[in-house]
Subunit: 388 residues, 4 copies
């Protein structure tokens, strides 16, 4: 059986993946949001659920919050609550897509008053970061337009720069701003930050602590995502990943579910470019569990990243270089595929047990009774979902 | 100036486009549904709005209903109300995507009880058709799965056939069933009716009065839609169009907004294949007005179809054949493009005036005071939207 | 270690994959065809190379020919030559894309004389089938147009039907016609057989022995290919596969190289639908080895199909059904993925040895000295490539 | 009838579009290159043909050369020949995709000797620029890999930078380097300069006289190209356009043929961003006339750009701003579409006549007898095509 070298074990031990609080709430499509028993009603319950993921995997020690969905009166109390459950509060995500004022933009809006409101929202997010001890402010902008002519593309880009500058100036100490890009949706003609190039030029104009966030689901069909990973690492501007997977558009499926080999290639480039367990490159999930159970869905997700990281670490770098240098296409590909095709799961199970974890975290969670408990106890109240 | 020949005028006079009641309600994305002043609160108000579109264009004499969104106690009364406003009740659209029971399918569900419920819903729709005098039952199925392995693709296809058979058997007289296909969404791994081929084989297995519905927004990137129009007309199975346009996925934008030349090519093939003003081929809109005003959005839409039909009718068929037969690529393309590039709008304005309509229906609506009236009067109540 | 059950062993033993003669010749892009040492100069040398693939894998007992590229004076002699090397002559592929007369179409051409020539070419192919003992005539049509207006889409479809009818009528006994579809290229606006639906309606109009050929690289971005496999098997019209893989367009890469999980899903549906080792469903490769060595490229290809077939056979069908029926999305997916992630290579190696084959066919070929031999001996002459 | 304001006339008078010499040679796909009567046999004949385009349009006063396809012994003589025909020698295009040494890369190759050869080729191109008086060196790199693992993506990017630096350092005076990007092809897994972001960061690392070349056919499906135009103009890095159009991949069709409205939107952003008749932004064609006649194909192309520029200049910028500022989506879109739908062709015909040109350049060329002349006279010799 494949065994994991001490070096690989060390890398896997160091790995951590941040969970999105919203993955524990309900989500769906424009057509329907299905509800599920046991869904959290408030940020505390979301954190409690996230802590379960970490408990069985030791992989997910932080929870990202979304403002205003996760607003509470006392962030210190929330932080203590999280810490007591063994997790940290992580990245703060802003939201400028659910207020009627933002129908035609937020940071890019033609109206200075709307921009002011949107900037102030971000400043409030940084206040929260100060309270939660979060390092990163993640900005995903839903801004764009639906019809040609509707918007002045150029003016919006300039206003975006000005708005971001004001937000960036408010960051203190080690705090960072990460700017996500997305090919399309919810805007259907143009999006103000549609590609890595735009995010890169916008954050480069801000300063060193502004970085790009790469969401693996946010690209045009056929895009070679690992190439972008390579390029952003080369440029020193890959701030974070939003992991998920997709078959079509921004489907937000479990990472690795749609194309495991793509995840392998991405992680190989992360390792190649020095991005693994590098504090500058945050690993996060950004997913929706529309039809599957949410806590097991998150466990499956972090395990997928872990398993594929192990496979990517198995690539025989030396043999690969020899084959590449000799122009032996099939040999180079074979070295690469050999790692991908190696079944690391038994070795990972053993390694988990050696660390005092269950060999199979999915089974451990199922056996824990937690799911039954929340389904029984969480009655009444309003289930959390996007928009609440 | 271009003038419209008597033949073209006759074709344009005969043209009619069915409006979707839901276009007058609020719509949006999974991220946010923006509300708009004056939005209807019930089916009567939707029909009243639709009648405005017909009043200024004389192009939209029918309104499609969506069940259960447009359920009323007395369909005869609704029908009379519509007729008094100069419009008919048109196609009945079923809905199997907003009930918790349908989380894993409706007509394809593994559980016979759920299939029963979904079939019964369609039988109820046919009852409504009997009451409204509607000819067509349009079925769009949101069914599919999100993850490989989740569903038995083959079994679902067989169950779909059985369910459709039972529904088809209930149709009477001149009633028809039209089956829409859609590339993806809301399911993200597989969709049970994803392409024209699947819709075609399913309706062909039912009988003569089962036809394909082609929604112009429901195809993979790059698909040559006019080719499918040609093929379905050739096979005698093009039952209806859902017109809209898209840049990315199923964006449901105003027809002709994203790619006017594509709309031209589609209408050219409609004419070529005998589908224009052919009662077997219903023209319908299926759109969302997320950020633009709804009634003017619908007026703009039917005008786009009318204008592009006029352009397509201008193609000099004889000159085109000569060029095609001689293998003169540039000459054939030039004949085609000459029609597309001809500005038919002044001639259409004159023709409208000759028929007692305003030359510019958009301006006529704006001047009518109707928009201000509904924005003032429709206070309170719950605005209609998807799901209500 | 994973072991292969007797049933799986039996299925793998029965499996056979037809090789394309043209994979052994040079190929490339419109920009450049790179030559490689040892490339065959005639059909005999191509067959000799193909036999090497079969020798080390016992998986590839037939070689498809392409006419006119593989025309010889004496097909009986070619057949004997092949048989002596342990392989059969397989599918005959026609070619209507490299003659100046076919610039604007072949079977669809406006000019009856050109159609006559194209039909006669196919009749000649059937004569060759009679001589070679081939069962299948495979037709891929490069026909289409580059500019809107250039061609009469509808007329071409009708003429295609008439031409195919005449060809089909010439088939005798057990001979079959398989019609390939392709999304685009070499035509850039419309293609006459662009999707499975068109191929299906065309072959259905011919008769029972006309079937669809599914080339895995010939679909629009995002297309769910396993769904089409399921549907065609359900309809009894899946005649053959052209296996290859692609990242972008019709890239013709080694099967399984771009998306191994997609190949797994396709083979799972083949098994689910009764298409594995079913004589009605031929497995063929259709690939180009532009930058990699050709014989090892073909060995790698058939091994990829074999390995992924083994993985797909490992799916626990019973457990999968239980999970599907209970609506447990994650459990169903886990059963599915468990098979995909299982490393079957060691067990396959043992099984090969038990059959008297080398455990590692790639290594066995490399050690055989054959490559060095052909590189040394095949000097002079004109290397085979597309068009020769 | 629409008339052209003096300002629009001035803009159109100033407009110039560079023709690619290779458009006059034969081209095709990997499947077949069809030959055409009258095709040039050498660079002189290509220039003669290009001069015909300029003669009837007064729009195309420069011809881009491709090295080595257009190598001559005496560039001064070629320049004089061109000048005598009323055209200039324009951009010099390098070629690193047709030499066996470049199978695995040129400027990015692992082997320093191959990089040396590729760099030297570019230095030779600059020598030619000195002789021809050309300002721009355009670099399109076919470099990439076909299989995951085949190449070290990161190392190639670093070597690309070093190679470009050496080439850039050789430029003198007003000479510029423009770096083209392309989504894919001829490499099928990764391309070393696949997107505007990569081209931008590479040229930004060189200096002020290195710019991005945007080829309108080189993007992923659905990409909003006018957004990239806007962004590159904003960043001051849009060096040139390669105009063409496409339905699928890099189809190289006549500009405006596939999606005229997209061309309109692109030209609108060019105007909006100050790129029209700005010497920093070169307009070039890069097309293939596979099935249509080449000289008329080029005439059609420059007219398409001219006509769409005229439409884009008709946009009522003030009305557009008012509508945008008020959030009136339909009004803003209507202002935009009104310009697009206006038929400028009659006014352009009159304007041409006022300048001493034929109203219809296509007809003027057809009537000139030039085509018949070259078809009769150019017998023997080897027709120019890619690779010669």
């Amino acid at each position: 059986m494949t065994t994991l070298s001490p070096d690989i074990q060390a890398q896997l031990t160091a790995q951590s993946i941040e969970l999105p609080s919203w993955a524990f709430g309900n989500s769906g499509t424009r057509f329907k949001v299905f509800t599920t028993p046991g869904t959290p009603r408030d940020p505390y319950e979301k954190i409690a659920d996230a802590a379960q993921v970490n408990r069985v995997t030791a992989l997910a020690p932080a929870v990202a919050l979304h403002i205003p969905w996760d607003k509470v009166d006392d962030y210190a109390a929330l932080r203590t609550y999280a810490n007591d459950l063994g997790v940290e509060l992580g990245t703060i995500n802003s939201n400028t897509f659910q207020d009627d004022d933002y129908k035609f933009g937020a940071l890019t809006h033609e109206d200075a008053a709307v921009r002011r409101k949107a900037i102030d929202h971000h400043l409030e997010c940084i206040d929260i970061m100060d309270a939660t001890g979060s390092r990163d402010l993640k900005i995903w902008l839903a801004e764009g337009s639906n019809y040609p002519g509707q918007a002045d593309l150029r003016g919006r880009q300039d206003r975006l720069h000005e708005s971001l500058q004001e937000i960036y100036a408010r960051l203190s100490g080690e705090q960072r701003l990460v700017l996500e890009y997305k090919f399309f949706e919810p805007a259907f003609y143009h999006t103000d930050v549609p590609d890595w190039g735009t995010s890169y030029v916008q954050v480069s104009a801000l300063g060193e602590r502004a970085m790009v966030c790469l969401d693996t689901g946010h690209h045009a069909p056929g895009t070679n995502i690992e190439f972008i990973v390579m390029q952003l690492l080369r440029l020193g501007k890959l701030g974070s990943f939003d992991f998920n997977s997709r078959f079509y558009a921004d489907d937000d499926l479990i990472v690795g579910a749609a194309d495991p080999f793509q995840l392998f290639r991405i992680l190989f480039e992360v390792i190649r470019g020095g991005g693994l367990n590098n504090p500058d490159v945050a690993f996060m999930l950004d997913q929706c569990h529309n039809v599957e159970k949410k806590i097991p869905g998150q466990i499956r997700s972090v395990l997928n990243v872990q398993e594929m990281t192990a496979r990517a670490l198995l690539v025989d770098a030396e043999a690969l270089r020899v084959a590449q240098l000799s122009g032996d296409v099939l040999a180079a590909n074979a070295v690469f595929m050999d790692a991908f095709y190696t079944d690391v799961r038994p070795a990972l199970g053993q390694w988990r047990e050696s660390r005092g974890l269950a060999a199979d975290p999915m089974a451990a969670y199922a056996a824990s009774g937690y799911q039954e408990k929340i389904e029984t106890e969480r009655l009444g109240g309003v289930q959390a979902s996007w928009g609440a």
